[in-house]
Symmetry: D2
Subunit: 427 residues, 4 copies
């Protein structure tokens, strides 16, 4: 808990650094951000890199949205690779494929902004700044394809730096820092956490929560998973997340239900942690609770209702369900059989580019899980009604099948499913 | 101190992972290393990356020297970039310099072994394995230029991963883990540490020791510096490292003497930490001990005597000194004046490619320090006699001059020196 | 964050211990609590002390209120000292004041339940159990003076074990564990914390919070103080605790305002930590923020209005204020002068046993502070109106005066006060 | 590793405290130690307790041996209980055994130096100072029985403060702080550790070392045990402690051999930790290594040869062994049978006050272990020859027998032994 002291000391060291190294010349370090960036990758960066990097971090933090756009356009325009140099290097390599020529070609194709980003990273909060930059950039990207080159460079660096070997898995519980816990409340993307009391229930003895952290972002979970320890595979989510659900003895559990996985950092979009997280948590739980032998998700089916609507043009059941499903209406029961069948079709057969249309299915099936069970009235929240007519699905992770499932899926597009779910197709 | 438990748990998790994911198929994970590597960057690596990576790490650790050579030759031959693909991508880029074509060209120039290394890094001890690989490779490189491409890729990745922003500065003292302290004894490269009692003296109240660590190598210092807190700039090293030197009150010190800097990881050769380390430690000490206002090294001059020998063909003093300098002979005093003069010439004027011949001078002057004082009988050890006729030199780090000194040095090859040292040239 | 693992391991070790040591005999460790207690201080306790102690802890935790009363009555009746033995030992000592006889007398006067408590303390959660026991006991004590002997023994032991030398001062901030932070919300006794957002404001950059912890109760603050860093001595509390108060730069502060001190453990009643806490925090803040030179409380005056009521029989102003003070009425301003005067009288002159009637005054004046300023409309909350007609007071801690103030107060009952407050008396 | 900073900060806080609270008056805190002690338990101690306590700690640390003696005599003479007050209180209690009178009697029998010690404990290093005081005192005690009363008070307090519930069991390995590890080298009392390389072997993968720590003495182990993980019960100690013994895989072990237990703090003499330590380590190892099912010591028999000498007057074998046992002589083998028999007699039958003469036997048998096996040539070191004619003994800890063994031993003096050892008696 001495962190306060240490942070202050570190901050003050950096302050001193800045003053020490900036006092000298006509160009104060508080100067123009473009100049600072050019300095940072130039000769001054060799001597005063950390101080310059810190200045860039501070200046960037103070930018408004319009200035940020200008900054990214600067990065695109002035810190990209030199086309002529690339072509010259390619010619030299064509004449002589020596290592030196290859390295020159590789160097020429690398945009100077990559070195800029590496140097920004030297500052305190450098990594956090680069992740924030990418978050801002992704927002701007839709309408500005000219910035894609900047994004490609940030993505390349961050993917290398957030290599799984550098991540720490940490268990999150009620003894975790409030600074981390509030991030769970903010980032939970599947079943919203309604404040601290709600969160507390999700961290009690019959629940587990794990997150990946990167050493350079100590208070920022990258991704976290919420797990319920149960007897048998849970079929409905509301009992799991009810704030007043009785707390069970974890020693009595035989199943771990992964009921929510949330990515936390928009700036790391496209860098995948979920597959590693689930497998590591399975291994951890096997170690901690040897009697837990079943590992399954309880997952939403976010695209089902939209797909039903499209299908509705050809299929009366789908039309009916997509138009007027209401779990409270006596009608709902009548719809059960057709909806279960349609859902099985959606999960197993509705594809795009050879992969399932449903993004959650794509994720878990790509990880080597199988479609285990479709659950009627699995999620009766408004969101559940709206997205999937209250259906939920369990994806089962059987460690011994994961690699086979994955390869069949990756090589042949084959989707693993229980016979029960396959059976629904035939009804 | 619960680390034992945790390590065991982590190890056992990894064991389980391996078993879980490996039990399935015809190709056991204990298989041939080349196959493992191909699997790891292929489809299997997607599903079972961590287990495969761990298998590679284990297999590599068990290789003997001859097998390691074969492994590196495999990496050079089978995991390099595809020349034809590069040329095709270059052609496409020449026709249309679109981002997609640039990215394809960049991807084509990147050797697949870079991805292999990134995946190896996912295993426990992955980073340590890659650093060890490079250490082994550097040993082999002298006679096998065909392996240079492998080294270039390892260097590229490690330089990015060991970015200063990911390093932690830690103070080392007698409460530090023995597993770290024994590394200091092993790695001290300037003034050998003769066992634990010798080390203990260097960690007492009037000494400081700081090291950089990387989170993925928690027990391995990357570089460390030893500092003595003194009154005035120390002129001789033996009093500083004498095991029975009286311990002074650090509150009375006005000067910090950096008397030894040692790199620890051969596998990180060419990735420079020293400049950052010195500047960070200066800032730290200013914070901790505001009354310490002078920051200076007490440095060896490793190339002096060899240079004197060469100079000896033209200069009688140099010849005499290089041939028969002996600090215990009455003669030595006679040699003082000419040796001091020659040393000043050596440090300020003996250059190669526009930079000082002396490697230590090159390092500190490149960092922005200045040559402050040459010390007669500064190091009377056998090594001191042999390398530099017992002379030592102080390089002074004045925070307010560092950037100016560095730029003058980098841009114009100008060497900063005190007027006293400059004066020696004229004698 | 590995605490989960460790806790589980520790728990499971204890489980094993219990099974190992309990399997043997006719009297299972789950047996009757009275028997367990007798066993624990007897021979079985020598061999199986930890397991028996754990059994006592578990059995005690399961007791309902009526059973707890029975348990304390058992402790009073069966685990007290032996009167005859005391008298015999006193006789022996009277005949011969040898050390052996003195020790026997001391041993005879010590109730066996003290040894019982010391052995209960060996169990995991033993210390927490004893603190909880005393909390329960204090509740029962009012109507059952026969239990006072049990309380005297618990108090004696806990006072020795919670010696200031064993306490750790820790800074509390937003990175502190939620398990600790929720205790602040629960225990804040002066200005209630209304949930997590309210708490967060009190932990921001211009606030400090410190608590004492005992190593055996790691998640339980014993006492905590909330501090605001301000310019000048704050005169009103609502601006300090407003959730949306702007966050100031602590570097600009010259004053630290101790605006709330709360004891957390009812079971430690009568063991005083506040004096140490304030002085330690003053020293800490001087270290962290050298520019902060004034240390003052902003304190409630909880007994003022009740005293005014009593005074009201003789003093019309007091009667008026106690009967109908309302800060929102135009009348209030008219009352200011008489109320300030009455308050000065209350603080400086209203005494009981030679000490101030007001408990907060008694605490701070006993610590060596002085009455610095009385603040009109210092606390306009309902509680402020009700208790003190919205008046608050600053007690000033001037390190150089503390000892003198304390001695004058302790020896002569003299109360230190600023001339401004003294001046109010004469108006 | 931020401990350096923190220590300095804490030190400096204490410095400030001292200055702040001491600046005022005629009696500077650097004053006479006797006066300081009187002040500390008097009124000044209320206001400036921590500063006064720190002054006492510092003054005590500076005392030479003669001054220490004078100090203890002062404590005996001036800080003892008031005999007349005790007798008065006893009279009052005799007339009326009310709680108030009992408490007064208890208070009167408690020497004021107990309160003095409790207040000294408030200083930084207070606990360490009190432990050191008792160590010094114990040295002086032999010739000065008048100091026993001081010792009784220190022992009473320390026994209460070092309650097992406040101790932390920590595993010690090569990652432990050098400041702790050097204590092992210094304190090992059974099989000396010859420097750091020797120590390192004892901390490798097939060894375990555990120690108890008290939170107030973070770098000071109180007691530690060294364990070898073996297959079968080890019969000789030299193979276990050989520096170059091959390191076995702990997963292959079925037995844990406790081959050395050392108390570290002379100042805690008479406060027993060994029993707790062994049982806790057994539980820990069962948790960590479930396949380890046998827990045994390999223990010296320190009193054997001296006993043989005494027995020699009546027994020719004993005389021969005690006079001329030499493991290297061909004679030795001839002595094996009689020596084994005599050793069994020594361990099982040689008693004093109904307990075994041998101190190690007394310890383990009192803990509930049994005599399992006597080992010929178990310790061939000079010490082994000298003390026990090279014999060693295994005491077996079978968790399920511990309580029964202990009670039979404690109540009836019955010694548990294997039939093999009992059989030796009959030979």
């Amino acid at each position: 808990m001495a962190t306060g002291w240490l942070n202050r000391i570190i901050g003050s060291i950096a302050d001193q650094g800045r003053e020490l190294f900036a006092s000298r010349s006509g160009r104060p370090i508080g100067g123009d951000l473009a100049t600072l960036c050019h300095d940072l990758i130039g000769e001054r960066g060799e001597a005063s890199g950390t101080a310059l990097a810190r200045a860039v971090v501070e200046r960037y933090a103070a930018l408004g949205p319009a200035e940020r756009l200008a900054f990214f356009e600067l990065l695109a325009a002035q810190f990209g690779p030199d086309q002529a140099a690339i072509l010259l290097a390619a010619d030299a390599y064509r004449r002589d494929a020596a290592l030196a020529n290859l390295l020159k070609l590789a160097a020429a194709t690398e945009a100077p902004r990559q070195e800029l980003f590496r140097r920004v990273n030297m500052a305190p909060d450098g990594t956090a700044t680069l992740v924030a930059m990418r978050e801002h950039l992704l927002d701007l990207l839709r309408d500005r394809p000219q910035l894609e080159s900047v994004d490609a460079d940030l993505h390349h660096l961050l993917a290398s730096w957030f290599n799984r070997g550098f991540l720490r898995l940490e268990r999150i519980d009620w003894r975790t820092s409030a600074a981390v816990l509030e991030k769970l409340i903010a980032y939970e993307a599947v079943h919203a956490i309604e404040g601290w009391e709600d969160l507390r229930r999700r961290l009690q003895d019959d629940r587990r929560c794990f997150a990946f952290f990167h050493p350079a972002l100590p208070d920022e979970p990258l991704i976290f998973v919420e797990v319920a320890l149960t007897r048998g595979i849970a079929a409905a989510v509301q009992p799991l997340i009810a704030r007043d659900a009785p707390v069970a003895d974890p020693a009595g559990a035989d199943t771990a239900i992964f009921y929510s996985i949330s990515n936390c950092q928009k700036g790391l979009r496209g860098i995948s942690f979920g597959n590693f997280l689930i497998k590591q948590v399975v291994a951890d739980l096997q170690q901690e609770l040897p009697q837990v032998e079943t590992f399954s998700t309880l997952s939403p089916i976010p695209g089902l209702r939209a797909w039903l609507k499209k299908e509705g043009r050809a299929d009366g059941d789908a039309a009916a369900a997509s138009e007027r499903f209401d779990p409270a209406s006596p009608d709902a029961t009548v719809m059960k059989a057709p909806l279960m069948r349609l859902c099985a079709r959606y999960l197993l057969q509705a594809k795009k580019d050879g992969k399932p249309v449903d993004p959650v299915a794509r994720f878990h099936l790509g990880n080597g899980a199988r479609v285990e069970r479709i659950n009627w009235l699995g999620d009766v929240s408004a969101k559940g009604v709206r997205e999937s007519c209250c259906l939920m699905v369990n994806y089962l992770y059987r460690p011994e099948d994961i690699e086979r499932n994955h390869e069949a899926y990756a090589n042949e597009g084959r989707i693993a499913a229980s016979s029960a779910v396959r059976g629904l197709l035939k009804e």
